[in-house]
Each structure stands twice: as C-alpha cells, then as structure tokens.
C-alpha cells in the first residue's frame, strides 16, 4: 500500500522540519538580550564574572559552532546538559514528555469523541428549533480561552466538588488511573474551544455533502436518511476534518503550555517557559524539536487516514 519511496520521503521531510525548527530556535536565542550566564549570576553579575562564566559554559564560541555541536550531539543521542539544573537533558525531560503526551492524547480523544457526533447532529438539525441556540453556544465555546475555563473547572471540581486535588498530580508510573483522572479536567479545558471549531467545520462539510447529487439519489432510492448520513456522507465529509484535527494537535500542544500552569501539571510546557526565561538553550532546543516532531507526525498520520478514507488521495499504489 505505502511504497518505500513514499515512506522514505515522509521521514526525510520530518527530519528536515525538525532541523529547521531547531536552527530557528537557536538563532532566536542569540538575538534576545540576556545570556544564560547573566541570568545565572543575577544581581551578582559583573562584566568580568559574566565573561568568565560564559567562557566556562562555552557560550563565547560562534553561533554556528555551538549549533553544529548541538546537532551532532542530537543525532548521536546526546541532548546535552541543562544549564540551570546541571542534569542531562534527557533525564530532565523524559518524565515530562510522558505527561504532556498523555495530556495531548487525552485532549485529542476527547475532541474526536465529542465533536464528530455533535457535528453530525448539528448538520441534521440544521434549520431546526434549537439551531440558533446551539450555534450561539458554539460561538461562545470557541471564544473562551483554555486558561479561563481551566480556572473555572478547577474551582468547580477541585475546590467545590473535590473530585480531584489541585496541586497533587499523581505520578504516572505509580498511579496511572489517578493521573489520567487529573489530566481529564485539564484536557476538557483544552478541548472545549477545539470541539466547538471542529463541530462548526464538520457541520459545514456535511451540509455541503448533503447537497450533492448522490445523496438525493440514495434517498430517492429508499435508503433512510440516517443510513445515508453515516454511511456515505460522513466518510466524504471527514477528509477536510481529519486534516483540521491534525492541525488541532499543534494547538493542543500549545494550549497545554498554559493549561499545565493553571493545573500545576509537571509537563513540558512549564519547563519550556522557565527554560526560555533562564536562557537554558539545551533544554529549549530539545523540547522545541520534540514538539515539532509531534506536530509533523500528527500531520503525517492524518494524511494516512485520509488516504484510507478517500482512495483518490492514494499515491502510486492502489487505485
């Protein structure tokens, strides 16, 4: 089905994207004011001390040399040592990658599970009595930022109902169900605006499909509406939605940065923000590359799914 050439092409594209992203991050760091040495010395900083510390940390070498060294390390599996924490970067971020991954996957599943039935339902009931209300509700959900819903949800479920203890995130290794339950609420705040957007999109694509000739034909031949809807229309309407959902993955990752702060979840987002503040470039590079990989991967998987759904999209292989 998928030729070697195609697979190789996608992998190369993935790697190239990651390299470009890492280079841009590196350059961005060199442009902003404040070096890691200056931040570390803080109010004790004097020009001589800063210079001495930079020399010790190897920060006084030219940009391309440092980048080359980092890239080489990356491909040999060595992500460097954190400037702030003095620990190997791998060790530092491994537990957090897992947490952010769980959060992202949970959010994604939630979005898919909720928006597809809702979207189809919204298309079916188009023009009906509650249509105006549900559209307004949809708009509201799209506009509310995850930060705000996060605080509201925490207040409701932690402070009032006590369904989870805010601030006590259970360790993924020892208490997986507990951790997922904690993440669920964070996932809901991330999911709400995305669900709203996906529902709107699905509704318009389904309605668009419903106008087509084959639908009229199928119904006139005696198939029931529901059957036509789910059997034929949905499959066709899903293609743009799948692509949209892949882009949503990137937004989920970005949203998790803010949501992690609100829910006190030890994920990549918080570490990324703190590391940028401290100019801890080995950590920032590693996280940025991981996030880029994740986003590109989501896009690739989306393409594969679309190819399964729509044979016209398959390249060099099945007809």
């Amino acid at each position: 089905m998928m030729t070697m050439k195609y697979a190789a092409k996608r992998i190369v594209m993935l790697l190239v994207t990651m390299v470009i992203v890492s280079f841009l991050a590196f350059v961005a760091f060199s442009l902003i004011s404040g070096s890691a040495a200056e931040i570390m010395l803080g109010t004790q900083a004097t020009p001589e001390k800063v210079a001495a510390l930079e020399k010790e940390m190897g920060l006084d070498r030219p940009l391309l040399v440092r980048y080359g060294e980092w890239l080489l390390g990356f491909f040999t599996g060595n992500l460097g040592t954190s400037i702030s924490y003095k620990q190997p970067v791998q060790q530092l971020i491994a537990p957090k990658v897992l947490v952010t991954l769980c959060l992202s996957v949970l959010s994604f599943l939630l979005i898919v599970a909720v928006s597809i039935p809702l979207g189809v339902r919204s298309a079916r009931r188009a023009g009906g009595r509650l249509d105006g209300v549900s559209t307004a509700l949809n708009q509201l959900c799209m506009a509310v930022p995850p930060f705000f819903t996060g605080i509201l949800l925490t207040w409701l479920f932690s402070t009032v109902l006590r369904w989870f203890t805010h601030g006590k995130f259970p360790d993924l290794g020892t208490d997986f169900p507990g951790a997922v339950k904690y993440l669920f609420f964070a996932a809901v705040s991330i999911a709400i605006p995305r669900v709203a957007m996906t529902v709107r999109m699905l509704r318009s694509t389904v309605l668009g499909e419903m106008q087509k000739d084959y639908v009229r034909t199928a119904i006139s031949r005696g198939n029931d509406r529901a059957g036509v809807l789910y059997g034929h229309v949905l499959k066709n309407a899903l293609v743009p939605v799948v692509t949209f959902l892949a882009q949503t993955m990137a937004e989920i990752v970005a949203g998790s940065i803010v949501v992690e702060q609100v829910f006190a979840i030890p994920g990549l987002g918080r570490l990324l923000v703190a590391s940028i503040s401290n100019r801890d470039y080995p950590v920032v590079q590693a996280i940025v590359v991981i996030l880029a990989f994740w986003v590109v991967l989501a896009g690739t998987v989306a393409d594969l799914i679309n190819q399964r759904i729509d044979p016209r999209l398959r390249l060099g292989g099945d007809a």
Binding site: Y85, W155, G167, A264
Partner: protein
C-alpha cells in the same frame, strides 16, 4: 462502515469515561466536610507541603545561588560558622565560639564538636578553610562574597580551630561568617547539595518540587517536621487553589487579595519582606541627573496612598535604603522627609527647567506583580505634577541584563534585598565605584562617609555614620523610596511556629503541628 465508525466512537467515549471513573476509588481520599484535608492531617505523616512561586534554577550550591527565592529555601540546608536569629542577632552555629585578637585583625573560631554534614562526615577545620577560601577566591575578579576581599588568610590551626586574618578592622566582619560551610572533598553541590542544617536535601524534579527531610544528626535543636516538600507553582491562582484543595499547607509572599480568598482553614501571619522597594532613578540620565527633578518626584509621591491602594494597607513606608526590621539602623525620621506637596514639586520642576513636566519610562520586571501594581499607582500620582510616565514591562532576564547590569533605563520599580544582615549590604550599592551601582549614584560625601564607616570599629559611631549615609540618600533624593512590602504567609490551621526574620528566609525548623 457506519457500524464500525459508531463502534469506534462509542469505544472512545467509553474509554474516556472509564478512565476517569476508575481513578475515583483507588487513591484520592475524599475528606468529609471542610475541616479535614488530605495529606497533612493524616496520622502517619508529620510533613507539610510549602508552595513557592519559582523553581530554584539558579543553583543549589549556596555559594553560587543568587535568587532570593533559592536562598530562602536552602536556608534550611546550610549553615555558616555563625547563624542569624529571628531577632537579627548572630548565634554560633558550626563554630562554638570565637575570639578576636587585640589588633582586631584575627578571628579565631573554635569549631563545635560533633557537627556532621548530611553525608555523615564530621566537619573539620579543613572544610571551613575550603569554604571560606572558595568564597574569597579572586581569580575571576571579584570574590563570590564581596566582603571577603578583606580576608588576607584563612588557616587551620588544628583540627578544630580556624584562624581568619583580615586586612583592616571591621565591625561587620562577623556578620559575613554566615556563609555556608561545605565539605571540602565534595563537588556535586549543584545537583545534590550537602550542608550542616536541620534539613537535608533529598530530591528535586525540575519545575515541580524540591524535597527536604529532617536531618537526624543535627547538632542543635532538631526540626519538628520529618519532611517538607516545596511545590513549585508559578501561577498565582494555582497557589490559592492548591491551598484550598489541601495540596499545599503553607505559602509565603501572598498578596492581600489572594489571602482574602482563603477560608477558615487558614490563618495569615504577617511579617515584612525585608526589601527596599523604590522608584529607582538612573541618576546619570536626563532629567534625573538634576537633584531638583528627583526631589520633585519625591514630593509628588504619596507612599501611604500606594500602600492603601495597591496593597490594602499592608506595608511599611520607608524614606531611605533601609527597612524597619533592621532596628538600630533604621531612621524613622527620614520616612516623612518628603510629604506629598504638589505645588512644591511643580515649582522644583520649573526651577530645573521643566515647567510643563516631562515624559519618562518606568521599566518593571513582569514577574513581580507588586511592583507592577506600584508602578501603576505611581503613574497616576506623577500625572498631578505634569510628569507623564509610561510603564514598560520586561521579562526578568531582560531586566537583569539591561537594567541591572547594563544600566539602560530611566527608572524602574523593584525591591532590593540585603544579601546578609548588615547595613553595608543595603548601603554599599550606592557608592560611586561599586560594580552594581545600577542607579549611577555619584556623591562625594556619600563615598567619604562610606570609607569612614568601613574603618570605624566603634559600633555606636558606625551606626551614626550609616544613618548619615541614609540621610544623604534621602536629602539628595537618590531614588523615590516607597516601602518595605508586607509578607503575608497563609498557614493551615493546626500548624504553628512560623517565625519571621529580618532577612528573606523561610525557617522551617520551628514549624510544627500543634498538640
């Protein structure tokens, strides 16, 4: 196809629901009613969780740590030859006693018997020599501890005695002996710190927590708590919600609005932050190079107004680079040297050549809400004399590099702390040749007074000179001094023993559960 799709969707929803549902019974303890909370009042655990707003990511090594937040936490892990008390005195710690030579140049410390490091080794004179030398080392230009530049030699006279010789007599030298004593043969202080304090470092998870445990072989009064976990939450709302949910038991440096949200499960202890908060003016930049302009600003600002408006009345107004907790050095008369007088301010501005006021920028670090709030009130107050101030928020790293090191700013609102319990720590920074004189204060009288203070060894005389220096700063309106911020600490009911120090520390050795 339809059936498969429906089946998949149903499965996905069921999965989500099931995962959230099955977590319910196993680990979360559901407390009954508002009084009892999870974790802290369990019969088993004699431990607490403290909420802090930033990670200790400058360094765990006490000689290299610069952030006040880091030193505040690690105060429990490290000790020096002497140790500060909550009343502002010094008490012997690793040292048992000391004598000063006739010429006041040699301090001989006798080490206490049986003081152990957290790794089990006994403290010897060699460790003391190593620690002091490390801080006095001048290979990078300035020593790690500025004041150690007067140290000429450090010697181990025998296994329990260390002699330190300084170049000129000093009243304050003994205050600097609070520098941490570290084991000589240990090089992992930045990842696994080892000291002699009542708590030992156990572990840390970046941007998440730091865990300390009671050190059973501590030489002094042992701590009451067995374990303290510091949970890091950079989001202020998160701290409050965690206090309410029971995940955190104690949290310092809260604002009055935050504290108002907490219910009866907590009580609020009020201390001072021990910071000199001011509108710091770059004395080398126009128009602040003119003393009349600076004085005009002082006459325009109503300190109590700022405290009432932005801090709900919590805060102690100050008039110079000194805060009230420093007792004998604090000159109260300077606080009201400048009282709000809009007419006087305007006339001073007119004399200086700005009859219609001028524009200025206030650079504020964006991570300190109290300073941002203060700046906003300042903008309004300055409008009254015709000065249009614009607030520029910058990230902390940028503030340190551009404002503090680079001195590229017009004015800034920030709180300056004392790195140790000496008046010198707060006053030295404004001498004209001081490396961190970020406001570019240049006053010959001030410099002369400082030189005098350094060589005076009569305590009363020296105190008088320091007070004269404070007066100099006030009269010349080096900055617009505002207040020492109030330190509001939320403590869960049932915990007691929170003590305030005249420096920025959080002493956990006295905290305990009430009987």
């Amino acid at each position: 196809m339809k059936k498969k799709l429906m089946a998949f969707l149903l499965l996905a929803s069921l999965l989500c629901a099931a995962l959230t549902g099955c977590g319910g019974g196993s680990t979360e303890k559901t407390p009954e009613g508002g009084q009892t909370q999870t974790g802290s009042t369990d019969a088993v655990a004699n431990e607490i969780t403290v909420g802090i707003a930033q990670d200790l990511d400058d360094s765990l090594d006490p000689h290299l740590a610069v952030a006040a937040g880091t030193k505040e936490v690690m105060f429990n892990v490290f000790e020096g030859l002497m140790k500060p008390t909550s009343t502002g005195d010094l008490t012997p710690a690793v040292a048992e006693s000391y004598t000063v030579s006739e010429d006041r140049l040699t301090y001989t410390f006798t080490l206490r018997e049986g003081v152990k490091f957290h790794n089990g080794d006994e403290v010897t004179a060699e460790d003391v020599v190593y620690s002091i030398n490390r801080c006095a080392d001048t290979t990078d230009g300035t020593p790690l501890v500025e004041a150690f530049s007067v140290i000429q030699s450090v010697e181990a006279v025998d296994a329990r005695t260390v002699a330190i010789t300084i170049s000129e007599p000093s009243n304050e030298f003994i205050s600097y002996m609070t520098t941490a004593i570290l084991p000589a043969d240990y090089d992992q202080q930045d990842t696994a710190p080892v000291g002699t304090g009542p708590f030992k470092f156990v572990s840390r998870a970046a941007q998440d927590n730091i865990v300390l445990e009671k050190f059973d072989e501590y030489w002094g009064t042992p701590a009451y708590l067995d374990k303290v976990t510091f949970k890091i939450m950079e989001n202020a709302d998160s701290l409050i919600m965690s206090l309410q949910s029971g995940a955190i038991d104690l949290c310092s440096h809260l604002t009055s609005t935050q504290v108002a949200q907490l219910g009866d499960d907590f009580y609020v202890a009020e201390g001072t932050m021990n910071l000199v908060q001011a509108l710091y003016l770059n004395n080398a930049e126009k128009p602040f190079d003119d003393v009349r302009v600076r004085q005009a600003l002082c006459y325009a600002v109503d300190k109590q107004g700022i405290i009432d408006l932005a801090f709900n009345g919590y805060g102690s107004p100050i008039g110079s680079s000194m805060y009230p907790a420093f007792g004998k050095y604090f000159d109260e008369s300077l606080t009201n040297y400048y009282t709000k007088d809009v007419e006087k301010a305007k006339s001073l501005l007119a004399d200086a050549g700005y009859p219609n006021g001028f524009e200025m920028t206030i650079t504020v670090p964006s991570n300190y809400q109290p300073h941002i709030d203060t700046a906003q009130v300042l903008v309004e107050q300055l409008k009254e004399i015709g000065v249009t101030a614009k607030i520029e928020l910058v990230e902390w790293g940028t503030w340190v590099s551009d404002v503090y090191s680079g001195r590229q700013f017009q004015s800034t609102v920030v709180g300056v702390d004392a790195s140790n319990m000496t008046a010198r720590a707060l006053l030295e920074r404004f001498t004209s040749d001081y490396a961190k004189n970020f406001i570019n204060y240049n006053n010959a009288d001030y410099d002369a007074l400082f030189q005098q203070a350094l060589t005076t060894y009569d305590d009363a005389e020296q105190t008088a000179i320091y007070k004269a220096m404070e007066k100099n700063l006030t009269e010349n309106a080096a900055n617009v001094y505002i207040q020492d911020l109030a330190d509001l600490v939320a403590v869960r009911q049932g915990l007691e023993g929170v003590t305030f120090y005249p420096i920025y520390v959080l002493d956990l050795s006295t905290v305990r559960y009430a009987e």
